[in-house]
């Protein structure tokens, strides 16, 4: 059985915002977050609360970005920037997750694996954000 060291769950009663995250035994945080445009709480606030709850157990944030039909703020931002000539590595630094993680003290964002897609049309990117 594989169980996380810690998990964090926040579901706003409005049904308009939720986050769920886990830290594994190597301190890697995996999470999923969704908010509607009219959510009474911001995604950044839920993300902050999650990292506060994990404390020093969290050493790396693992960001898993996939693009299908639904908007994906991170990958949409990467595509917006790379379409206008920004390098992929630089574009990653300007995504929502990396910027939020940086506020919480995670300073180094590095792409892992091979992304799928081309400039302006990426569909799969994995990033590790470390302290």
């Amino acid at each position: 059985m594989e169980t996380p060291q810690l998990s964090f769950s926040f579901n706003h009663l409005s049904g308009k915002a939720a986050i769920y995250g886990e830290v594994d035994d190597e301190g890697v945080v995996t999470f999923a977050v969704r908010v509607t445009e009219d959510s009474p709480i911001r995604g950044s606030e839920m993300f902050r609360r999650m990292l506060v709850a994990f404390g020093d157990e969290a050493r790396t944030v693992r960001a898993v970005w996939r693009k299908y039909r639904e908007p994906s703020s991170n990958i949409d931002r990467v595509n917006e920037l790379t379409a206008s000539g920004t390098s992929l590595d630089e574009a990653i630094q300007q995504t929502w997750t990396v910027l939020q993680a940086r506020k919480a003290g995670f300073s180094t964002a590095t792409m892992v694996g091979i992304p799928e897609g081309t400039a302006g049309a990426f569909s799969k990117i994995d990033v590790l954000i470390e302290r």
Binding site: P4, S7, N11, A18, T30, A32, R34, R62, Y68, E70
Partner: protein, 79 residues
């Protein structure tokens, strides 16, 4: 449900009903699946896209994990 070989869609529909009205049901649903199958979120995460795409190739690893869990449950039930 997994032990009864129910489809992923039927499990998703069941969990959605359990969660109740939510525009962001996919997040608590993944938490539910993690607990139900004792799997880490990194294994469940492809469900996030599957609910829109229904592309089973994107959840092939997850489906095999669920099948393994179901086999264990059936074996345990026989003992």
């Amino acid at each position: 449900m997994a032990a009864d070989r129910r489809s992923l869609q039927s499990m998703v529909d069941f969990v959605k009903t359990e969660i109740g009205p939510s525009e962001v049901y996919v997040v608590p649903m993944m938490s539910y699946f993690c607990r139900a199958f004792s799997l880490p979120l990194r294994d469940i995460l492809p469900l996030r896209e599957w609910v829109d795409s229904h592309d089973n190739s994107s959840v092939s690893t997850l489906l095999s994990r669920i099948e393994s869990f179901a086999l264990e449950q059936r074996s345990a039930a026989k003992e």
